[in-house]
Symmetry: C2
Subunit: 591 residues, 2 copies
């Protein structure tokens, strides 16, 4: 429906001699021997255009005034490039357009940075001039990929009978979970809406409504202190279904991933995806989102070393902790004491008191702690670690969580530094058998590990009151290359069980009733067994596009202080606006 225009990046040798009309941006202008060359860019790519006195004196004259990023309309004819000037790197590299007419549609000031990939630009400047930043090829490609990924998944879900449905953004604040963004009501004095942290309760209500299969690309909001990989608003692919088992929901998700990876990346994913229990993931990788593209697995040596005579190790095990080790294969020679000291400093960030180490040589183990072990014990360690001469073994003996956190992080660090990660791999896996509850020492009560609506597994139901710490959840997380892509669970669908769950979480009956009245009521009117999954769309795009920063996958992102250097949001508002909302500013202490 732009009948006369040709897209720059689509012109080929077969178009030679055709008259074309191009519209786009000036990527680059070069003056050469009385001719002017302009690389013209539009959404499809770039083509070289040539202004010559022989073709048009007028056009040439105009071309002299044209600068980078001007918007122009060019009329011309496609010609073959001369042999020596062919550019193999361009799709349009064998042709150029001889210009007969040019119109400047809009001028452009000299941009604060060149609109080319590879330029080093501070993030603040990139965000302030986001409209220029987004013109760069890698950004254009990322958002084309984002579009395509969303269409592929929508098509898949549509084919499977899921309905795309929209839940409200102006909802009610709930106390569990992260901090809500609030929206003051003008009509209801002193009352506030909350922006949704996820459509969790609404998607459960959709199941109670009998739609059975729902999805949404849902905008979600969390007013948290930001880290590099967090944004105040983010998009999740939200899926909920009735009457399906965990296995069926996981299988459906896998099929969606297969289709996505094939159509967007041309990569074949084998299914079923590997599954690992939460406990195994922690024991073997020190992480609930293990990156399995490399080895360096943790080995639990607690049983082996607890009576071996090295007090630091046996004390850790006796105190309820553990001892684990990583075999840094064939790196004994590469790591000096100084190098190992650095690793020790690193694990201390995670609370470890130290990092013990051994080097394996032909004659046996060597290192400061070698003397504490009998030959039998040292042989057992070597065998358990599958160690060979030349290997470096590193140990942490501590509380279980510290061992997992520190060695899990060390594993990642070593893999990066030793370049052990095959970047072409897409290692998906499921983490299953999650604990339902986590005890919080500070609050002296249990919190839901996922959320308070997660269904406990059938066989642990009786332990819910007597032994809450050991109840497993019917929950599953999907992990890609060490990132949590998303998670899901079956949900509680009987009122009595939901009431017991709130009790375990320390809610009084009145609190539960007041805050979740509508859910409790809905569960009484024929709620089907249901469950679902939510995938982080921004992160998924980040991983597919090979990016390392979420901000590169969000069109207009916020900075780490939740502001937008482009529009200067958030901003001040008028007194009259606040009056209408029945609010006034409160000066903070000391002001």
């Amino acid at each position: 429906m732009e009948r006369t225009r040709q897209l720059a990046g689509t012109i080929r040798e077969s178009d030679v001699e055709r008259a074309v009309i191009l519209k786009g941006w000036v990527q680059k202008r070069r003056d050469l021997g009385g001719l002017i060359f302009i690389d013209l860019r539009d959404r499809s790519g770039v083509v070289q255009t040539v202004f010559s006195p022989a073709q048009s004196e007028d056009a040439l004259k105009i071309a002299e005034s044209i600068r980078s990023e001007y918007v122009v309309e060019i009329h011309g004819q496609v010609v073959k490039r001369q042999a020596g000037t062919v550019n193999d790197k361009m799709d349009t590299g064998t042709i150029e357009v001889l210009v007969s007419d040019v119109t400047i549609l809009n001028e452009a000031k000299n941009p604060p940075f060149t609109v080319l990939d590879g330029a080093e630009i501070s993030e603040d400047v990139r965000l302030k001039y986001r409209y220029l930043d987004l013109r760069r090829e890698s950004m254009q490609e990322t958002f084309k990929l984002r579009h395509k990924a969303s269409q592929v998944m929508r098509q898949f879900l549509n084919d499977e009978g899921y309905l795309e449905m929209e839940t409200p953004m102006l909802t009610k604040s709930t106390p569990e979970g992260a901090r809500d963004y609030l929206v003051p009501s003008r009509v209801h004095e002193g009352h506030f809406y909350a922006l949704p942290q996820s459509p969790q309760l609404f998607k459960q209500l959709i199941m109670v409504s009998g739609f059975e299969r729902y999805f949404q690309f849902a905008r979600c909001f969390r007013d948290e202190d930001l880290r590099a990989d967090r944004q105040p608003e983010f998009t999740q692919i939200d899926i909920e279904t009735s009457f399906m088992t965990s296995d069926e929901i996981m299988a459906m998700t896998e099929q969606m991933m297969v289709k996505l990876m094939k159509e967007v990346k041309g990569v074949d994913i084998e299914t079923p995806l590997p599954r690992i229990s939460y406990d195994d993931a922690m024991n073997r990788f020190g992480s609930d989102k293990p990156d399995t593209r490399f080895g360096l697995e943790l080995v639990d040596l607690s049983e082996l070393v607890k009576d071996a005579g090295f007090k630091v190790f046996s004390d850790a095990v006796e105190g309820g902790g553990k001892v684990s080790a990583i075999n840094v294969s064939q790196q004994a020679a590469a790591f000096s004491r100084k190098d190992i000291d650095k690793l020790t400093e690193f694990v201390k960030i995670y609370g470890a008191k130290g990092l013990a180490w051994l080097k394996v040589e032909d004659e046996g183990i060597k290192g400061p702690i070698a003397k504490f072990f009998t030959e039998a014990a040292s042989n057992a360690i070597v065998q358990s670690m599958d160690a060979k001469p030349g290997d470096l073994l590193v140990f942490v003996a501590d509380k279980t969580q510290v061992v997992h956190d520190s060695l899990g992080a060390l594993r990642q660090k070593l893999a990066k530094e030793l370049d052990l990660i095959d970047q072409s791999l897409f290692n998906f896996l499921w983490v299953t058998d999650w604990p339902l509850l986590e005890y919080d020492e500070d609050h002296g009560r249990y919190f839901a590990a996922h959320h308070p609506f997660t269904l406990p597994v059938e066989e642990d139901l009786e332990k819910l009151t007597s032994d809450p710490a050991n109840v497993k959840a019917a929950a599953y997380d999907i992990v890609l290359n060490g990132f949590e892509l998303g998670g899901g669970s079956l949900r509680i669908y009987k009122k009595e069980l939901q009431e017991r769950m709130f009790e375990v979480l320390g809610f009084t009956k009145e609190e539960a009733q007041e805050q979740f009245e509508f859910l409790m009521q809905a569960l009484e009117y024929g709620a089907p067994p249901h469950g679902g999954i939510a995938l982080g769309f921004d992160r998924l795009v980040m991983l597919l596009a090979g990016k390392t920063n979420l901000r590169d996958t969000i069109l207009f992102p916020k900075t780490a202080s939740a502001s937008d250097p482009l529009t200067n949001a958030p901003g001040t508002v008028s007194e009259a606006q606040l009056d209408e909302l029945h609010l006034q500013l409160k000066k903070s202490k000391g002001m």
Copy 2:
């Protein structure tokens, strides 16, 4: 991926003798001669199941305890119904399922209303128990249609090279337009985000970013006093494109509507759609969104009657107003004086001082004002109105806007009462040639008729300062059956023109700079000519589904006071939450 389950509504005679597993809701239970019949409903429809002592005593016993809206799993065998019991109204009416086993998955209290279409239920109750309301067949169908419409349009836009992109929800408050919903910032004391009224400026920035073709199913927010057809949050199909003319954008939109109507309604729409100028729409229909499914057009008689001797008419015309009339064909006999008095009361709502009328008889015009016209004048009126004996003519003489508003509304009212509207029609049309600006007497300045970024038509550019009232906009609205489906325009893409526009709107240079700095800056760095359109998705679904209330097309809507009886949003929040946001409540006067 639910390998063992069969959907209730899909069972046919070809399935007879098959063993099936069904899961769903109990629509109805009937006990009859020792047998129990349960109509089982799932997302696909309804099937009749039969419990008999011969088949299973156990199942029959359980069935006795089953009530409406229980969730059950049924195992059974498909059998042909006996000749006399076939139900032609059901897709599954020739078969039934003989039950061998039943499990109650969840119980249900007796619902506050039956989950069947046609039940009269107050809207508050419907919204409080929305999850039951949504189980009704007509609601299920509406949201299936909504899903399908969104997929069809997405597919169309994808095929045309448009990228689906997400713009921020946490944006900056802008002074023009409706009232913003505000979101206080925790990090930036005294600062607020605003929820977007539309992604207008962001989609323009996307064009400056060089993506050329963008769309989004965008959630938008307006904190207005609600009417029946308004919601605080709504969804618009937001489309923007670079380098296209108005005609090209309209043609693209038409093709999308053709595809939508064909695939969702099976209706063929002829294109190009009719176009009518804003002035013609007002003169002929008294409305900028004319319903052309019926006649009753307004006829402008000003020229004809201004010197005809009837002072009320000539005064109106001389005072700068007009006289228009509607021919209510062949209704002279049906309308008593009392009926006409009622019409007079009706037009007074719209500011009209009265409604003049004439009845056409074989001998000429009759009625209280007939005596004021010469035979020539009365003949001219009859001729202009294309009037025949038996017709009723009604007149309003007043200020132009009053004439249009009152006769426009009267036209709608008469069409409904006289049943003149063919409900099977889908009359799309474009309204074009809109005024760019509207003068506001109260504020003593011009306001943008659409928004301040609308491009004036080329030929009126010079009048922008000298004669702003007569500048036309490059804008177009699409209308369906008397509803505004959406509107669009080309946008200003040169900084100088945008500056002049802000001047005309009474902004100082500083105000314009401060509030729209990022837009003004973006226009300096190579902004392409661009434009777009936004369609109201909720309203489109309403019209396609044959509904009359927007709330029936939104999953979890708000009431007229912007609250949600289901979740009780908005709600109160804790002092601590307000503290973190640096806010306190302000008591309203008199409290």
